[in-house]
């Protein structure tokens, strides 16, 4: 009988669920999440959403927070700032969540910064623009490394390798324009001359004409700042044009899918990034190693794909929130904020967080390292 075939396993599953899941007496703790699961930032938002679901499931298995079950409410913003605004209002007014994690992109985060601040809603952003936490808004935090750290790491590496004349290309998005502005801001400090600076359409399918223009300006290196698949196209086009300039990418490149898409053209690309993607190459003495290797393994086991730093941001946001609620012993917004500001030497995937009332990011320059691609894998750049 067909019904039998479905009914039996279903009954078994239900039984297993009741036997193995802890019993939660009190009302669930509602956590809101706004991620660009689909749309142009899906390469970031989708791993974030998957990670958040995985982490919440695991937290609930091991007793939830303060003995209460966690209820995660995920909204897919499609990376649109307008949608992020309406979802933020919905989460605050209708769902009455305790805190919001996300949004995925800097543009969305800036769009809801004021809303969360005015509503007194703790927000832990998963986007990287420096402006999200500078100037500090009482209720707004972020977990990825600031984009200015990324830029300074890049310029330091250029100083070491004798590169002084570069071309900058960036996607015409909040992320791309933010990175371009930081590159232009810090260039003089490191004695770097930007010979040409261009923006391109984020959905570009070929960039050979743009790179021809960059190449004609005689640069020693090209810096590309984007999160879209165009990152792989830039790498391929440069090799097809037989350009000799070194290619630097932003931390948006930290998804192994882009290396696969670029194939051999990805070899030797240099980019600054957190250590999550090379966790297995870290010495055992590194205090972050254990949790990062575990996260990578859990994610791969559950979703059959490699973890990226972006999923790591959702992991950090949730574990920080859990630690804060537990230390505050309360879900009151002001107490949560106070508790996050009190977190010191907290190990996450992006680095070691030490928050304070003045620093709502909690990460330092040392949370980043230079990476490169060798034989299709991410490795430390020596």
């Amino acid at each position: 009988m067909r019904t039998d075939r479905i009914a039996k396993p279903a009954a078994f599953c239900a039984l297993a669920f009741f036997c193995f899941s802890p019993v939660f007496a009190a009302e669930a703790i509602k956590i809101g999440a706004i991620f660009g699961v689909t749309g142009p930032a899906a390469y970031l938002g989708a791993p974030e959403e998957r990670t958040a679901r995985m982490v919440v499931e695991e937290m609930n298995r091991s007793g939830g927070i303060l003995g209460r079950r966690i209820q995660l409410i995920v909204k897919d913003s499609g990376a649109s700032a307008e949608k992020a605004i309406s979802f933020a209002k919905q989460l605050i007014d209708e769902e009455e969540v305790v805190a919001i994690i996300g949004p995925t992109t800097s543009g969305e985060s800036m769009a809801i910064k004021d809303i969360c601040q005015k509503a007194g809603m703790p927000l832990i952003s998963c986007a990287s623009a420096e402006t999200i936490t500078t100037p500090v808004a009482k209720y707004v935090f972020k977990v990825p490394q600031k984009d200015n750290y990324v830029v300074e790491w890049m310029y330091r590496t250029m100083n070491k390798t004798g590169i002084s004349k570069i071309g900058v290309i960036a996607a015409n998005t909040g992320f791309g324009n933010g990175g371009k502005a930081q590159l232009e801001k810090y260039a003089a400090k490191y004695g770097i001359a930007i010979a040409i600076s261009e923006v391109y359409d984020a959905n570009a399918t070929d960039l050979s004409a743009l790179l021809t223009k960059v190449n004609a300006s005689g640069v020693q290196a090209v810096v590309n700042w984007s999160i879209e698949p165009a990152q792989s196209i830039v790498a391929k086009n440069m090799r097809q044009l037989k350009m000799t300039a070194q290619l630097f990418q932003s931390h948006g490149f930290a998804n192994i899918k882009y290396v696969e898409a670029a194939g051999e053209a990805a070899e030797g690309i240099i980019f600054p990034c957190g250590r999550l993607i090379v966790a297995d190459q870290l010495p055992d003495s590194n205090p972050q190693k254990k949790l990062m290797v575990k996260y990578n393994a859990d994610y791969k086991a559950m979703y059959k794909e490699d973890a990226s730093t972006f999923g790591g941001h959702a992991y950090d946001a949730l574990t920080i929130l859990k630690a804060a609620i537990e230390s505050a012993k309360s879900t009151d917004a002001d107490k949560i904020v106070k508790a996050i500001e009190g977190l010191k030497d907290f190990y996450g995937t992006a680095g070691v967080f030490s928050f304070s009332a003045e620093d709502h990011n909690g990460l330092q320059m040392d949370s980043i390292d230079m990476m490169t691609v060798r034989k299709g894998k991410f490795v430390f750049y020596q």
Binding site: V37, T38, G39, P40, A42, Y43, A46, I169, N172, E198, V199, Y200, D201, N203, A204, T205, D206, L207, S208, A209, L210, T212, K213, A216, P229, S232, I233, A235, K236, R239, Q240, L241, K242, K257, Y258, E260, A261, A262, G263, E264, A265, E305
Partner: protein
Amino acid sequence: MPPEVVLQYLISGLIYGSIYAAVAIGFNIIYNATGIINFAQGEFAMLGGMFASSLSARLPLALAIAVAMVLTALSGAVLERVFLRRVARGGVLKMIVTTIGLSIVIREAALLAWGESVRTLPFFTGNEVSSVSFLGANFSPQVFWVVGVTALTVAALTAFFRFTLMGKAMRGCSASREGASLCGIDPDRMVTIAFTLSAGIGAVAGCVVAPLTQTHYAIGSGLAIKGFTVAAFGGLGNSVAAVVAGLFLGMLESFSIVFVPEAYKDVVSICVLLAVLFVKPSGLFGSRAAGALKDY
């Protein structure tokens, strides 16, 4: 500007143009049979690339592309039989709106089936870093494949619509459904064949450009907009005109980068399209008389 840089821009223009033309051809087939614009055409190119990229893990590349073409052609036929035939009596506008809806459904289905990650096909000749040098300009050998496949398809289609009975019958359906029926042509069958053919050709276009453009679930709408621009620019229904218009637009976009940021190259091409359509609504090579007969 040094001559090799000019040549490099020309070649970039050729790459853009042939990608656009490859997609535009599919628009023309369905237009020739039904008089409608199929806005799901970009989705056929996406499906072709996605099927082929999944299959190429297990099959040799050529076979993977062939199977992808058949699968996409079948999906084209199914879409026509299941959805479009039902609204066909409601007129062309209803059908066009339906194709927009279908394109969204296909895109979401692809997101569920393949996820959001970017995929690619192996380069047909050489690999990602292979490059051909010509008078100081460099480009990927895949460009030969895109240009060659597009040229072959256009030649075959032109012959099909001009010289074969079925091709003429298809054009007859577009001119007048009733008239075609009276002559013993089964318009429903012709329209199904047109969708099958155009989906198959869209899939081939999607496969041949995939090593260059890469592919993911959402790439279809961008390709469709450019393909439609080129098809309308050249004059709907005429594949040779689509190629000429595609190359013209590709060159325009490529050289526009010298003066305006790449991010605005679409603005340049859309402005030119609007200007052409204001002056000559039937497109560069379309005839005014044929344009006047259309329902919209």
